[in-house]
Each structure stands twice: as structure tokens, then as C-alpha cells.
Assembly symmetry: C2
Homo-oligomer: 224 residues x 2
Amino acid sequence: MDTVKVIEIKKSVFEDNDRDADRLRAELKGKGVYLLNLMSSPGSGKTTTLIKTINLLKEKLRIAVMEADIDSDVDAVKIKEATGIDTIQLHTGGMCHLDAEMTRQGLDNIGLEGLDLVILENVGNLVCPAEFDTGASRNAMILSVPEGDDKPLKYPLMFSVCDVVVINKMDAAALFDFDLAKCRANIAMRNPKAEVIPISAKTGEGVELFAEWLLNEVNNWKNK
Amino acid sequence: MDTVKVIEIKKSVFEDNDRDADRLRAELKGKGVYLLNLMSSPGSGKTTTLIKTINLLKEKLRIAVMEADIDSDVDAVKIKEATGIDTIQLHTGGMCHLDAEMTRQGLDNIGLEGLDLVILENVGNLVCPAEFDTGASRNAMILSVPEGDDKPLKYPLMFSVCDVVVINKMDAAALFDFDLAKCRANIAMRNPKAEVIPISAKTGEGVELFAEWLLNEVNNWKNK
């Protein structure tokens, strides 16, 4: 089994997270590194989605992953084994979110030299991570079909801050009476600009659309 | 459509939540009211499980529900319509959990006279609600099959503080390669005393076991 580096994240000392996040975003831009902050509920399929997406992109982009969890390294090991790319595990020590300074601690441990894209898999939680700007270039979230098409009504901030909403486990839509049109309308109510990409990480359907969105994003970030 | 009372919860001023929670638990005990704190991820099926459980118990116990959400009243209205019992909606104003004082604000608005059981549906979040004692007689959680059998590894505190873990959406176990034995072992690692009750709120299978557990709990609480 592969082993991954495990970083115990320390609580931030900065009081003004928004300013710190803007500073980090500018630094990353200067280095040509795109940072994607990926958020979701526990069990939405973030890890499987990432593995399939990275395998579609790893010949085109130099990618690293930071896997944030309260405990355990299972996801980081899984990603490293399935993709071969650099992956580190961030342990939040019980903290329910990451902020910019905590993200920076992870980035310092990866080393950004030569990278195009860093993906931060945030703590599985639809509430707190939405409140803290990590300094990412863009925010993405995965909503999974079994969670229900009404989630944008109940977790408004999360849907408001995300540039793209990936809807995963579409292969189970019939079993869970999931109404994609209703879900799109609920997302649009919170965030009319959000891209919505339905996929099934299990069957692979639609994953290439998310990979394409991400590739365009990274290329635009470098060239603007 | 039924309407429900909506309470905007205020942030607590108490610094010592544990002491406040013990005080609330003792007050409830004195009044013969059992408070169940029900936690889970977003979309685990808390509301459907509650509706079926309440319909099995409402002739035997006088029950009220407090439905906590960051926003929206959809679940509270659904429970009131499907069970006919008293239901109020607590709006947390963006807060990711409830503590004892916030729970008390809800209880004051229900009125405890004549009640046997109050069910608090906590904010959908596997992280923060586990950190705050609400003053409940017992903590329960619902883990749903699509979230995966590895969740006890990733959210250790939540599984440690729960007296019972209901595993919902068992009808979808095959589709999601969910291993119940592995899940039981993972739960036992965090909390060897936790009861584990597999159910499907959709088909109704197993819900009577959870209802029975709860009925015994309430009766023991009154008689001890």
C-alpha cells in the first residue's frame, strides 16, 4: 500500500481570513498554479470523482491533491494508488473547515514548483467550509443524488459560493426519485451563475465534462 | 399546506455549555420528558425516518418535534402534515450546530406540559453537532448507505457520542456495495456500546426496531 505524507494542520492565527485568502490567491496566480476547493457532504463521492477526473487530466496538467480529513488517511492513499500523482493528507484535528492559512500550511508541504493544478478536498460538511475562503481560484461542490434535490434550499451559503456544482450518482436517480430539473432550479435560485454538471463517478458518465470544465479553467487562469 | 411556528435561534451567551447541558437534562428528567438529539449528514433520510417512527409511536407517547435548519421550513411542514404532531422549526441563522441554550430556546417555544418525548432534528452535519452537548437524554445518528461503510473512520467524534446508529437506505445496499458487517466493525471501533439498527425508511423495513428502541428508552427514562 502506498503511504502518503500526513500534515497535522494548526489553527490559524490570522484574524482577517478574507484578506489572507486574497493574498494567497494572488500568490498562486503569480506562480501559475490553479487551486480548486472541492466541498461536499460526507459520502458524496468526492474521492471517486477526483480519481476519474485526474486520470483524464494527468497527461495534460501537472496535478497534486491535498486531502483534508478530521482523521484517517484512507482517501489520500486511495487517490495516490489510483492516479500515481502527489497526494498529501491534511489532518484538521477536529476542525470542521479549512481557512486560507490552513490551506497555505498544506501548500507549503506540497511545494508548488512545476504544478498547474492543486485540488483541495475540503472536510465533508455542507455548512462550515462555505464560510471560509481558502484562497482557492474557484470553489466546486459535489451534491450526490441520494442527498436529494432540495439541498440548495437547506444549505444556501454552500450553493451561493460555488462556481460549479457536480451532481454525482446520477445512475441512482430513479431509485431516489431525484428530479434533475427541480435540482437545477433550486441551485439557480441560490446561484444563477453556477455551472451544473450531472455525472456518475461510478459508471464514468459525464466525468469528461467536469474534466473539460476544469482544464478550461486552469488554462484561462494561466493566460489571463 | 400546514404552517409551522418558526423560531429564530439566538447565539448562546453561556460559556460553559457542558454544565448548562447537564442542567437542562436534569430539568427534563424532573418533568418526565425524554429529549432525543438526532444527528446525521445532509440527505441521510432523517425526516422520512422520523415520520415513520412517529406514526408507529404516536398512540403510545405524546411527541413533539423541533426541526433545526439553517434555512427553509420544508422538513417541519412535511413532518406536521404526515404525522399531525406538534412541530416547530428552529432557524440557526447560519450556525452549524445547536448547543444546550439554543435547544432550550426551542423547548421554551414548544411547552413541555404533557409531553413524553421531544425529538430534536439537529443541523445536517457530521462534524460540529457532535461537539456540543444539547442536554438531550440520548444522542442518535442516522448514517445512510450511499455515504459508505467507512464513515466511522472519518468522523470519529460523531460515532463516539451516539448511543444508537440507525443505518438507513438499506434497500440500496447492493447498488452502493455497502458492507454492513464492515460498517458495524467500524462503528464498534469508535463506540463498542452503540446500538446499530439497519432500516429502510423508504420501504419501512426495520423502522419498528428503532421505534421499539425509542419506546423502551422513554419508558426507562420515566421510571428510573
